[in-house]
């Protein structure tokens, strides 16, 4: 290498220019080829995971003796208090009716349970509800704070319990929802 460098330094200016031009042309050609080859990838794996996290989720329905439970695992949603909603006037998100809301972040999903009365078909907001999230892939258990809330746009028809909680992607999940002592189990895969 040293010998090559010495030879290069000792070579005439015309030869140096010639070698440099040759190297630049090779660099341009190889760069173009690499860009063509890598062009299909476009988005990295991390970006793909984030894209999946933005849309992944599932919807399940189950019934107890008195209630119809529709559980959703959705991408994380911003939860606003009434004051925050009044101040910010958001166009999407959840309005907290009772309880507290967790912030959104990486791997955060919005886990919610809609409770309907089986006799009337109307949503219930006056029941005692608990939500247990079991990650059957990792064996982790999390209690989802059952905050009462509703979609900012839909309003009272959408009233439900749930919260934002971190859930790993590509997991088999089980939600155990207890409504006034009546328990339902809902399974689903989160991409």
């Amino acid at each position: 290498m040293t010998i090559q460098r010495v030879r290069f330094i000792a070579s005439p200016p015309a030869r140096k220019r010639f070698i440099v031009a040759l190297m630049l042309m090779g660099l341009v050609a190889s760069s173009s080829a690499c860009r063509l080859v890598d062009g299909d990838k476009g988005i990295s794996d991390t970006t793909a995971d984030q894209e999946v996290a933005k849309v992944a989720g599932w919807t399940r329905i189950a019934t107890t003796e008195k209630y119809l439970v529709v559980a959703n695992v959705l991408p994380g949603e911003v939860m606003f208090t009434t004051a925050e909603a009044d101040a910010q006037n958001p166009t999407e998100g959840e309005l907290i009716i009772r309880g507290i809301g967790n912030p959104v972040g990486d791997h955060v999903r919005h886990v919610e349970a809609h409770i309907y009365d089986r006799t009337t078909g109307l949503p219930r907001s006056d029941v005692t509800t608990s939500i247990l999230l079991l990650n059957r892939t990792t064996g982790e258990r999390e209690i989802v704070a059952a905050t009462l809330m509703q979609d900012i746009n839909t309003g009272a028809l959408d009233i439900h319990y749930g919260n934002n909680i971190a859930v790993r992607s590509n997991s088999d999940l089980r939600l155990i929802v207890t409504v006034d002592g009546e328990e339902v189990t809902l399974d689903g895969h989160l991409d």
Binding site: L36, G39, K54, A56, T59, D158
Partner: protein, 635 residues
């Protein structure tokens, strides 16, 4: 130097390739590169085009399916609400819409999409299942006659499931459309980059081909150019202009042949130059020797030539004397004024003379050194000896010594050989000429000049107006000595008279054997009377010599005349002759001075002349008789 294949570098191997093969390999390589580049370009563009087409087509199909799913979802909801609100009515439309929705969902799964799309499809699928479950509950509520429950479920749980499903279907359609547009954009971008790559590869290929052409041209042209330049320089006379080509191809072999030719030409030129120098020196020596008309001058020339030919040597020329048996130092050249001092005594003792050619000795201490060199008692030295001959006969030797182990060059030995031949020829010729001249101008028995030379010399004295006295002498009764004591005694008598006479002569005086027992003298710048004194002294000396020798006693008569007073040389001879006869007539063993008569025409000659005339008339051929052995008066 031959280089084995294993030792050759790649560069050397390339250089050694024949020119034809270089061209073939070069242009085959160029064609291959060009074909590869074109093939790669074609393949790349084709594959890129196909890949882009698939991507665009897939994205379009996905967008279409997602749109169909969205439409099917809307129709499904509409059909479901219709049969709920218009109960009891048929579910046919709802079921058809459900089939369409499921078909669209299946098509989406079948066509495939990215991971986010898959997640959306999964989510839509679970939403659809919830939707169908709520629909079942709604159906049961209707069957049980509870339309209020059915309506509330439709507006509540089912609406929730549908809303999520429809929202996701819409998202999927939007994503698919975005993906399609992105695929189109990427297609355009990829096509543009493919064009740029094609151009770049084309430029690189062009550059590589140009470079390869340049290299091939350089490989072929540069050596040829060097050979051409060397040939042009050689044509201009520069024989050192060798072609600097090291390869083993045709050009390399041409260069080697050219260099070999130059080498031979240089050698030939060097030989010619040496020969020219030798001939030049030889010519110079020859001219110098030609101008040398006697041996000392010739020897001086030889000395100068020796000093020039062997400047770092001490040299000498040893020449044989007239006996040809003794060698003597004739010439010395070099830094040693005494010369090498070879002690060889005779030509026949000299190794070089015996061998007949030049002999060299690297060291005087060597076993095979010349004995005269080894036993000389000087410091160790080298030597070269060249015989000097004339007409095949040894007459000497040129001997030169230098530092020990000093190698004499061929040119030096050639120069010495040439010099020895020229010196031998010239000196031999000069000696021969001298000998011939002596033989032609002297009397072989007495060593005196002969009559012809004497006449020439006295004519010369008259031409230069040098006064001289002419004397004619004749041994008295010489025939009697011969007859009585023999010719050998007569010869000794003649030689004795010569020796005695020459002892009394000055260097300017001349003496010659006129013929027989008669002699002639010429005394310059003397009066006749003074001459007679010299003659008398000779007569006395002769008498004294004879008195102590075994020769019989004899006397000599002399006729004296002042030659410058005579009208001609012939007159002087005649008067001296007459005076000689007068001396004979007066009893011999005396000298008579002739009276020179006036040279006026008509004047009567003197009595002495008359006597001479008388004698001549009574004995014709007086002068002729003087050449003979007999004494005319004695008859």
């Amino acid at each position: 130097m031959a280089i084995s294949t294993e030792e050759r570098t790649f560069k050397q191997l390339v250089i050694d390739l024949p020119v034809g093969r270089k061209l073939f390999v070069g242009f085959a390589g160029l064609t291959t590169v060009l074909a590869l580049v074109i093939g790669c370009l074609f393949l790349t563009v084709s594959r890129l085009g196909a890949a882009n087409d698939r991507i665009v087509d897939g994205a379009a199909a996905e967008a279409q399916s997602a749109d169909q799913l969205r439409v099917a979802a809307a129709e499904l909801r509409s059909a479901q609400q219709a049969y709920v609100l218009d109960w009891p009515s048929t579910r046919t439309d709802f079921d058809q819409s459900a089939v369409q929705f499921e078909g669209a969902l299946h098509a989406l799964r079948r066509d495939g999409t990215d991971s986010a799309g898959e997640a959306l499809i999964d989510k839509i699928s679970t939403g659809y299942q919830t939707f169908r479950t709520t629909d079942q509950l709604i159906g049961e509520a209707l069957q049980s006659g509870n339309p209020a429950l059915a309506r509330n479920l439709t507006l509540g749980a089912e609406s929730l499931a549908f809303g999520l499903m429809a929202e996701d279907a819409s998202k999927l359609a939007d994503r698919a459309e975005v993906g399609r547009l992105d695929a189109v954009a990427r297609f355009n971008k990829t096509s543009s980059e493919a064009r740029r790559l094609g151009i770049a590869l084309g430029i690189v290929a062009l550059f590589v081909m140009t470079l390869a052409s340049w290299v091939i041209t350089k490989l072929i042209r540069n050596p040829l150019l060097r050979v051409q330049q060397a040939a042009e320089r050689a044509a201009e006379g520069d024989l050192q202009a060798e072609a600097d080509v090291t390869g083993d191809d045709e050009t390399g072999r041409l260069a080697k042949a050219f260099n070999t030719m130059l080498s031979k030409l240089r050698l030939r030129e060097e030989t010619l130059r040496a020969e020219h120098r030798r001939q030049e020196v030889a010519g110079k020596v020859h001219r110098a020797l030609e101008m040398a008309d006697d041996e000392p001058i010739a020897l001086e020339v030889v000395g100068l030539a020796l000093a020039e030919a062997l400047p770092s040597y001490s040299s000498e020329l040893l020449l044989a004397d007239n006996s040809k048996s003794n060698l003597e130092q004739a010439v010395v050249a070099g830094h040693n004024p005494d010369g090498p001092g070879c002690p060889v005594a005779s030509p026949f003792s000299c190794v070089a003379v015996r061998s007949g050619s030049a002999v060299t000795f690297a060291s005087s201490t060597a076993l095979d050194a010349c004995p005269h060199l080894r036993n000389r008692g000087v410091e160790p030295c080298s030597a070269v000896c060249v015989p000097v001959t004339f007409m095949g006969r040894a007459m000497g030797v040129i001997h030169a010594v230098g530092a020990e182990n000093q190698v004499q060059t061929t040119a030096e030995i050639d120069a010495l050989t040439t010099l020895s031949a020229q010196a031998g020829a010239r000196i031999g010729m000069l000696r021969t000429m001298t000998r011939t001249q002596e033989q032609a101008s002297t009397d072989s028995m007495t060593g005196l000049m002969n009559r012809r030379v004497f006449q020439t010399r006295i004519r010369s004295l008259r031409r230069t107006d040098t006064p001289f006295v002419l004397v004619m002498a004749d041994i008295d009764h010489f025939k009697r000595v011969n007859d009585t004591y023999g010719h050998e005694t007569g010869d000794r008598a003649l030689k004795t008279f010569c020796e005695v006479s020459k002892a009394s002569l000055r260097s300017t005086d001349l003496m010659a054997r006129w013929g027989g027992e008669e002699f002639a003298f010429a005394f310059c710048d003397l009066e006749p009377s003074q001459t007679r004194d010299v003659i008398d002294r000779i007569r006395l000396e002769l008498a004294g010599r004879l008195s102590t020798s075994d020769l019989p006693a004899f006397t000599v008569s002399f006729g004296i005349v002042a030659a410058d007073a005579c009208a001609s040389l012939e007159d002087a001879v005649r008067l001296a002759d007459d005076a000689l006869y007068e001396a004979k007539a007066q009893g011999r063993n005396c000298s008579i001075i002739a009276s020179v008569p006036a040279t006026i025409p008509g004047v009567v000659a003197t009595p002495l002349v008359r006597v001479a005339e008388k004698l001549r008339s009574t004995n014709p051929g007086v002068l002729a008789s003087l050449v003979g052995d007999d004494d005319p008066v004695a008859h």
